[in-house]
Amino acid sequence: MMELLEFVEGTGIATWVRESPSIFAYTLVLSLHAIGLSIVVGVSAMVALRVLGRFDGIPLQPMAKLYPLMYTGFWINAISGLMLLSANATGMLQMTMFYIKMGFVIAAVITLRVMRPKLVAGHAAKGLAMALLALWTGAVIAGRLTAYPYFVEAWLGI
């Protein structure tokens, strides 16, 4: 009997549950997802506000130099997001709110890309900047809501 218990304790699954290194990995990936969000959404917001005429002491054209930083934030989140998704694929893919979030993210990234050449040319594309602010706000709100499925179902019925 003891031998059997020791055998069970020694299996990969048991070791994993007991020592749960992957759970720590999960929390680190979750942290990275918040950090990447701050970079891509935060810097995007500053660029958008400048395009809209705020902080006009900052020259407009050099704001285009911030694209590599914004894309770094985006890629941190694309990769960490895929990892989080793989950890909870069935849960996330059954949630309408997850698809709403992804819709906002994709639209925001397209807007960001379309805005780049205009910024390089020194043109203040105010409509795009406003769309960018709205889309990132939508993405953050929808993203946060994926953590509250019961609340979303009760209030929105999805």
């Binding site: 701050s38 810097v43 902080f55 900052i58 050099p62 709100i141």
Partner: protein, 173 residues
Amino acid sequence: MLDALGNWLATFGFIELMNAYDWLWPLCEMIHFIGMALLIGSVGLLDFRVLGFGKGLPIARLEALVPLGIAGFVANSVTGFMFVAGNATGGPQAYLTNLAFQIKVILMLLAGINAIAFYFTGISREMATLGPVDEAPKNAKIVAAASLVLWISVIMFGRLIMYNDTLLWFLGI
């Protein structure tokens, strides 16, 4: 002492408020994340530029973004206070005794002291003399690097609050 502080925080009535309005906690979470992005987008961006990224942007002009970062910080202090004072399960004590939360608060204090160092040791004034593509002096870079590391760690330990057991396991406590 933490018990007394927790009991005092519970007297604010936020627990009852959170229970009465189930949308309040998720709403505070959304504001908390947007405030976080504003802080990193403004203060973090200034830090990146001081470190030499995004040359062409004058450092002194980027400092105009800092009030937006302060606004984000204030929004997050208010919503953060509501999370702690409005925590139903385990009460405010559950936060106060949470190691990840304690580390987060200490890191925020250090980030505050670091920001004061930037403005009150003359480093900020030195920035005004730099041109758009100039390299910042070394002392400014040290402060900027510390700011980035501290704020990113604040985010990380903020996320770890929910996974405090895992943190304790990792530290072998």
